[in-house]
Symmetry: none
Subunit: 359 residues, 2 copies
């Protein structure tokens, strides 16, 4: 496996404290490397000059010829050892929001410079996706309304992860067609998933997890049609949002006394299942395209801690999704509102696949 | 004097929505320009791909061949007109912490790209004035309840940027004490801010911007106390959230017929001012410590487009904050709900300074 040593720049630019900005700039221009390392008299790295620092100098009208580099250098410098992995160097860059990391040996002497550009350009540098293939035991997951984008997306992601997926629909024919398609999609990338199909009322019977990827308006009818298959020990996931277009063309929420998830909860709790609200703000368009990674947070709300934990585990099994505990089911309302806000922002900025992260 | 037109890159890289990351990368590699402009089908600029975005894609194991550019592009894009001064372009870069600004003509068509590198390399580009953090003219900003953390934070950030700050309080003594403290804080980092103090009812009179950093319960009393100073042309910023602790110890929202911001709007609109909701989810603890950078999104909601634009500009003047247009004032309700959700998540994960970003 490639390490930092393999792709670091070895003929990096160096200046020492007291050198002028002009000196650093000349070296950067001549070498076509956008960074210069600043050393102190003991050859220890104390700063970096980047194009950004030069811009700052210009903005402050610092004369390049007479201003010493220490006036504008960035510090402290982030360093890495030469035998570190490429993943580690990426982590350092992403976490510190920097594009260059100084490479040092065991005596803290500078031996190179690793840049974001070098990593991007290195075709052999494969970053291993942290897909945990060990998902623990597989769950039996019924996806109600599983023929839509959101349902298909979850089926693909969890089917790929080894779970047993049951695609539910009001039309058996439709469900079978979609199940076949999804199996085909996963077969084409070398996965043999367990994806079956059935009527909504049938697939819920054996399911441990029931995902309602249905419109808000169908909640009552749907629950009446599956109620005979509901029982204790099951978890219902509600990503349902009562979206409503306003007169002004803005997306909004149909305001009710309670949220969609709380409605599901009140209607089904007497029969046994727990309800957990999740997946509201994950763009369905991304979800349904297995080649698209998903780099979002999924906030989960629910009253039963155990069920919430199971759902959070299922979320964390989809690469790059981060489950966050959003408290009790009462907070599902916020998640539903948030969906309409995200849709509006996505439209405004022409980014339909918008999602969010807490930082 | 040189303008943006003289040093912009005219043969910039372009991709359109739906193009792959690989396509953008190829163009960047071939041209030796580190940035690609993303256009929509109407040739409007909707994003930028930088080396940083490519690194992110690599870190997330996004396949370059099949992932469309919109998945990783940076947005919204900062633009400048071609006859603007070099100083202006530097200001935009420094304030937004970006290295590239897209140059547009009067029809908002992309005509070029101006980079930090080009500015640094342009020897004829003499910067006459030291670039301050303020873009355009300073505003007169009254901060009502300005003695709290949120108020002090905004005063520091905008005071540093050159705006004229009026700290308002019910107690003149308190307001004066805090104003002196804030001046001291900024003096210690070499800034001479314009921060004054007064009674709430006094400071609003001359203010162009009035920020209500007050508890929900004080809205009515406060507005009654300042109403004689309100008039047309003023903008009221409402970050107010009707927070309420639930019996279970979870943070929640006191549910009313309308949001706090809408309440402010209804009470003040007859007197002239516009109301804009903003700053709900920016952690006050971070805001009030000037040495802490803020890397968050600020969603702004309001009915008057012009006022919203002014507030978004004021937000973008605080380094690393990104304003996002969240639509009409009706959406303030979502922002208020979101605050309680963020507080709960922050507590759960022991990160009181939690905020969020749309991606």
């Amino acid at each position: 496996m490639r390490t930092v040593k393999d792709i670091m720049i070895k003929n990096f630019n160096v200046v020492t404290l007291g050198d002028s900005i002009a000196c650093a700039y000349q070296k950067m221009k001549a070498s076509n490397i956008d960074t210069t390392i600043v050393l102190d008299k003991k050859a220890q790295c104390v700063g970096l000059i980047t194009i950004w620092d030069l811009l700052k100098a210009k903005a402050l009208s610092y004369p390049f010829d007479t201003t010493p580099v220490e006036e504008i250098m960035s510090f402290p410098v982030v360093t890495i050892t030469e035998d570190s992995s490429i993943e580690e160097s990426i982590s350092l860059m992403m976490n510190n929001r920097i594009k260059n990391v100084v490479v040092v040996d065991s005596d803290q002497r500078v031996v190179g410079l690793i840049s974001a550009k070098a990593i991007v350009e290195c075709e052999e540098c494969i970053v291993n996706n942290k897909i945990s293939c060990t998902i623990g035991r597989p769950y039996k997951i019924a996806i109600i309304g599983g023929t839509g984008k959101q349902g298909r997306g979850l089926a693909l992601r969890w089917g790929k992860g080894g779970h047993h997926i049951l695609i539910g629909s009001r039309s058996l024919e439709n469900a079978k067609k979609i199940a076949e398609q999804l199996r085909g999609n996963l077969n084409s990338i070398g996965v043999e998933p367990k994806i079956e199909a059935g009527l909504n009322s049938e697939v819920v019977k054996d399911a441990e997890i029931i995902v309602l990827t249905i419109p808000y308006q169908s909640i009552e009818e749907l629950i009446l049609s599956i109620k005979d298959g509901l029982h204790e020990g099951q978890i219902i996931i509600s990503p349902v949002v009562p979206l409503k277009m306003s007169d002004g063309g803005e997306m909004g929420i149909e305001r009710h006394r309670i949220s969609a998830a709380e409605k599901v909860y009140l209607m089904t709790k007497p029969l046994g299942p727990e309800t957990v609200a999740a997946f509201h703000t994950i763009p369905a368009a991304n979800l349904s395209r297995i080649e698209f990674p998903l780099n979002f947070d999924v906030v989960v709300a629910g009253n039963d801690a155990k069920s919430k934990k199971v759902v959070m585990k299922l979320i964390s099994q989809i690469p790059n999704l981060r489950p966050l505990d959003g408290g009790s089911l009462k907070n599902a309302e916020t998640l539903e509102y948030l969906t309409s806000l995200a849709i509006n922002i996505g439209r405004k900025y022409k980014k339909p696949t918008i999602g969010l992260k807490f930082i």
